[in-house]
Symmetry: C3
Subunit: 280 residues, 3 copies
């Protein structure tokens, strides 16, 4: 079985940057399966990259390697790192790109990518995806131990978690953290704390919100006071109408059946929303 | 030789949805080759998906599995299905997405995807591409028999075929069914009924149009009366000028040499066109 | 080890054209690794394709096959060719698409793709990517000798090299040749002539510019007189400010730290720029 390298960047697909990274990987270790997670992270949007890595990671085959490059600080003193999460490993810049994974998962080990053996001979100032991170991912895929890449780190960069808090009136305050391809809006509020491989999103702020979030009788309240009832899937409401539902990652989402909720509502990531228990 | 899974969705490439589907497949069956057909089907445009699957399918390696997800009714009572076309199999929603294949090919068997063994443990209400269809494709790739997926179906959903009919004045009425990346416009009219793996498009409406369609002396007539002569390739006319020709799938197309015919003409899918025999 | 086929086209990802090419390849030779270089070359932009192939090629694994299809003259008398560059081979139309590779590398052999054995049975007038080039790449990947594809050619098409010349006042005149996904502008001026696998860009015009280009004290002068100092990476200047630097392919580039230099400056490919030695 070949190891999987799952790639996420903000490089887009107009240039050959992603193709070159894949070429570098296959030159070092041909026996690998490459998966594109996405290359459409907006340039430099580390938070968006962190969210996307989080939603994809739990579906990766065991032993997968995440190669994440959203790296506005390329060529500066920001560290290049490799992380061991047990089920999978990750390489990328130490700028918060792995934050959402770190919110939820235990970090087994972290190293700085400093060994000259695991990068290309000439490292450019502006394309570490090609010169540093792709080679590191390939060397991980061929089984090189993390300790061979550089010194252990005791601390890696983490972004602030998204807004998620209990309010004085007993509702849950969260924020819209993602607008997807369909215009669906993903919030930071997890309605259900699942067992097993848990989406313990209440943990993002360290508060015990699980009891409240497990209620299904609530309503999602938008900034203008609009209240959306909680459904199961898009077609629970007539075409064009809005609903909230637990999305495919366990987070509350807002959609318009057959439409673009973001366009209909004029809302985008960053907007504060509130889950009320439906009694007021 | 690895089986090929050929994937078509309306998920776009901005999110990690497609990457997650691939992760799910490789986790269940790593020895598979994945091909992206396209992920740019407009959201919910089942007809466009059906056309694209049709034009791609005859080029797939033997034993390929089509994984098609254009699924506006996800989470409702619409069925999840697997189809056996002999040379290849297909999985996806039972909403007409396989119509164009069904217009032309014999269906060997169809089953409902109902076995809990061939889906993920937790099926979400909104992402059956990940939870139902990708796992089913992977289990087909590892050789599981169709009968293991669920009960046989005697009927699957089919869209109406596109407009294609003989008119009283002896010409052929068809419609523009696709605008491609270059602005070329593909019509429902097949000029040549090819032997062997036939593009028997005359069959789409059940009429015997083959004799008429085989003529190459005709002219394609647009709604405003413009008549386009039939050529072989773009450069048969000067740069910027329009022509009609038998496109790479055996259907009459309209192009502007070096330009965008759709923009030049202001025409889009749905427009009625007419193939006259050129004598009037 | 599987051979790599690296694919570059102007087909976009909205249609199934690229997926069909991959299907054709895997049907002929399944034991191959496919890399997408890019499919976003603007329709018919042979020069852009030639540049992208050049920047990607030196990172390909040994024995790779480039499959390049930017082919506005498809179906005309323009030749279909296969080229042997030693480290890798290439197939595509004979229209200049391999120019930048030819500027820099020795051509071991070139043949016309004329054998009926290495193309599909029915060759369309408009999709030679599927019918001619993908099959040829697959047959190269399975080890077929170049001589089996058709007669040797002594001459292949080449575009004019980009502007690059020494001016009377001792500075270097070049042009912007590429705008990338981030809005960074790549020029034809190579600041450093590297040893080993050399980026001998001075050779593009056959003049000995290497001494001058090796200076790092220069300034890049834009058409409006703006002078940009030469840095190492984006963050050498404050966010939003402009700099010039040697990009990841050894060419001088212009970027705005955290921004889009092309939008800020209103400049695009074709603009003449000048590298002055910084003393006037």
């Amino acid at each position: 079985v070949h190891p999987v390298i799952a790639i996420l960047t903000d490089f887009g697909l107009d240039d050959t940057y992603v193709g070159v990274m894949k070429s570098v990987i296959l030159k070092i270790h041909p026996d690998v399966d490459l998966i594109d997670l996405t290359h459409a992270i907006p340039p430099g949007d580390v938070r968006r990259g962190a969210f996307e890595l989080w939603r994809a990671a739990s579906y990766l085959p065991p032993g997968a390697i995440i190669l994440g490059v959203v790296d506005p600080g390329v060529g500066t003193e920001r560290k290049a790192i490799a992380l061991d999460f047990g089920e999978f490993k990750a390489v990328g810049p130490d700028n918060g790109l792995f934050s959402y994974l770190l919110f939820e998962r235990e970090l087994h080990a972290a190293v700085r990518l400093s060994s000259a053996e695991v990068r290309l001979a000439n490292v450019s100032g502006t394309f570490h995806g090609r010169d540093v991170f792709a080679p590191a991912a390939a060397h991980l895929a061929r089984g090189l131990q993390l300790s061979a890449f550089g010194p252990l780190l005791t601390r890696v960069a983490k972004l602030e978690p998204p807004e998620l808090a209990e309010t004085s009136d007993g509702s849950i305050r969260g924020e819209i953290i993602h607008r997807d391809h369909f215009g669906n809006l993903v919030t930071s509020i997890g309605r259900i704390v699942e067992e097993g491989r848990a989406l313990r999103l209440a943990d993002w702020t360290g508060r015990g919100l699980s009891r409240k979030l497990a209620r299904s009788a609530g309503r999602l309240v938008l900034p203008d006071g609009t209240q959306l009832s909680l459904g199961h899937t898009f077609a629970d409401v007539p075409v064009g109408e809005l609903l909230a539902y637990t999305g495919s990652t366990g987070l509350l989402e807002i959609a318009a059946n057959g439409g673009d909720a973001s366009a209909v509502l004029g809302l985008n990531p960053g907007t504060i929303v509130r889950l009320s228990d439906g009694e007021r």
